[in-house]
């Protein structure tokens, strides 16, 4: 019957240990998972995956703590922590990453905020190599002009010389 002191619980969502959810679980507050989720988990605050929990699907929150098993992408805008009992199979993206000894992580990691630095660095290095290569080509042309000699000559000079020699020979013949 009705108990006047029923437990309303906290402000977030809690999925019990023997509950299996299918679909998209979304909450503006914290989400704590002790059971199984087959789908997406989205929180505007924090997500806690306990030791008994298993999640198959993408997850997104500000701070995520994984002590159970996760198969899917994880996006933690502030911090992601994988505890010694945690297992993550999938890519992760976070600003602050903590992987404790004993944790399992198989996937790709991206540090939010630092990927821009990396992109600008690669862009700078590309531009640098481009300018260097242009400079080196210019230098090669100059060295070709200066060195002269038997083996290396300027093709335009060669042409002029040939024309001059032709003109000379014609002039001598006429004489």
């Amino acid at each position: 019957m009705f108990d006047k002191n029923q437990d309303i619980g906290g402000s977030g969502t809690v999925v019990g240990a023997n509950v299996k959810l299918n679909g998209v679980l979304k909450d503006m507050n914290d989400i704590t998972i002790h059971g199984t989720i087959d789908g997406e988990v989205i929180s505007d605050k924090n997500v806690l995956i306990s030791e008994t929990a298993s999640v198959k699907g993408p997850m997104g929150a500000q701070m995520i703590t994984v002590s159970g098993k996760v198969n899917g992408t994880i996006t933690a805008n502030k911090k992601l922590e994988i505890t010694p009992t945690g297992k993550v199979y999938g890519s992760i993206a976070t600003k602050d990453l903590v992987i404790r000894s004993g944790a399992v992580f198989v996937g790709k990691s991206t540090m939010i905020g630092h990927e821009k630095d990396e992109k600008s660095k690669t862009k700078q290095s590309k531009e640098k190599t481009k300018t260097e290569s242009e400079n080196s080509k210019g230098e090669e042309k100059e060295t070709e002009k200066k060195s002269g000699g038997f083996w290396i000559t300027n093709k335009q000079d060669d042409k002029q010389e040939k024309e001059e020699s032709k003109q000379k020979s014609q002039y001598e013949l006429e004489k």
Binding site: Q6, D7, I8, S11, V14, G16, K20, L21, G23, H34
Partner: protein, 257 residues
């Protein structure tokens, strides 16, 4: 201005409480028409009489059951609800910000009106407190809510109205699922208590949603205020801005002495 609907008294103490309330109403200058629920006139009829006489405020003087019944009859009507609690649950007291008859009467005099959201069991059974489904043995239930579904074994499911849940502005139904046969055993609990440790029960679930459907293999009654109001399968929804009620004004507490 005020139409008071008093619950049928069940004992002498109830009669004396109702007398005290009448004295308080006279003291605060908010006396109106007073009527009492009886076999001759039920709650619905008294509510219709008040609306026909164009009273702008109907006051429920009694328990959760009276309050929830009047709430259901006031839907889609231009009328404000006042509550003077007698043996009500902490949920109703939290709703109006008063736990005794004196503060409730003062709230009626001050007339701070608040618009609330309500949950209802389709098609028209509104409630401002909690609806429960109980079974002595664990029973399988299929629950669909928002974009999720789950099959779960339960012995008790409690469905709380958005009226009493703080959900950061967005009205939501709050669902509590328990299975008394799961969780830490009595021996574990006792040992942890002896050693002063707290033991968390991870078998309970607390979920929030805007729309809920519960289905069970066999029909299970849904109970509000110790009365059966429906049987599974049930659909529970939210009606936003469903009702205007009178609540207490927030009191400014003094500094520490």
């Amino acid at each position: 201005m005020y139409y008071y609907i008093l619950e049928q008294p069940k004992s002498d103490s109830s009669i004396s409480i109702q007398r005290k309330i009448k004295n308080l109403l006279a003291f605060y200058g908010i006396v109106g028409e007073i009527s009492r629920v009886s076999p001759a006139r039920n709650i619905e009829e008294l509510t219709e009489i008040a609306l026909a006489k164009q009273y702008n405020t109907i006051v429920a003087v009694g328990s959760d059951y009276l309050v929830n019944q009047i709430i259901s009859y006031l839907q889609n009507r231009e009328c404000i609800l006042g509550i003077i609690p007698i043996n009500t649950s902490p949920l109703i007291n939290k709703l109006i910000g008063s736990s005794n008859i004196k503060s409730a009467c003062l709230a009626l005099k001050e007339r701070k009106v608040k618009i609330i959201d309500l949950a209802y069991i389709s098609p028209n059974k509104y409630f401002s407190t909690v609806a429960t489904l109980s079974n002595s043995t664990p029973t399988l239930a299929t629950i669909y809510f928002d974009k999720c579904s789950t099959n779960v074994r339960f012995t008790n499911i409690s469905i709380y109205s958005p009226t009493i849940i703080d959900s950061n502005g967005e009205p939501q139904i709050y669902l509590n699922i328990q299975n008394s046969q799961e969780g830490p055993s009595t021996i574990n609990k006792t040992l942890n208590w002896l050693f002063g440790k707290s033991l968390k029960n991870n078998s309970k679930s607390y979920l929030r949603m805007k729309h809920l459907v519960i289905d069970t293999p066999e029909p299970i009654p849904v109970i509000i205020d110790n009365k059966i109001v429906a049987k599974t399968p049930v659909e529970i929804k939210i009606k936003k801005h469903a009702l205007k009620i009178i609540t207490s004004r927030a009191k400014i507490s003094g500094g520490n002495n």
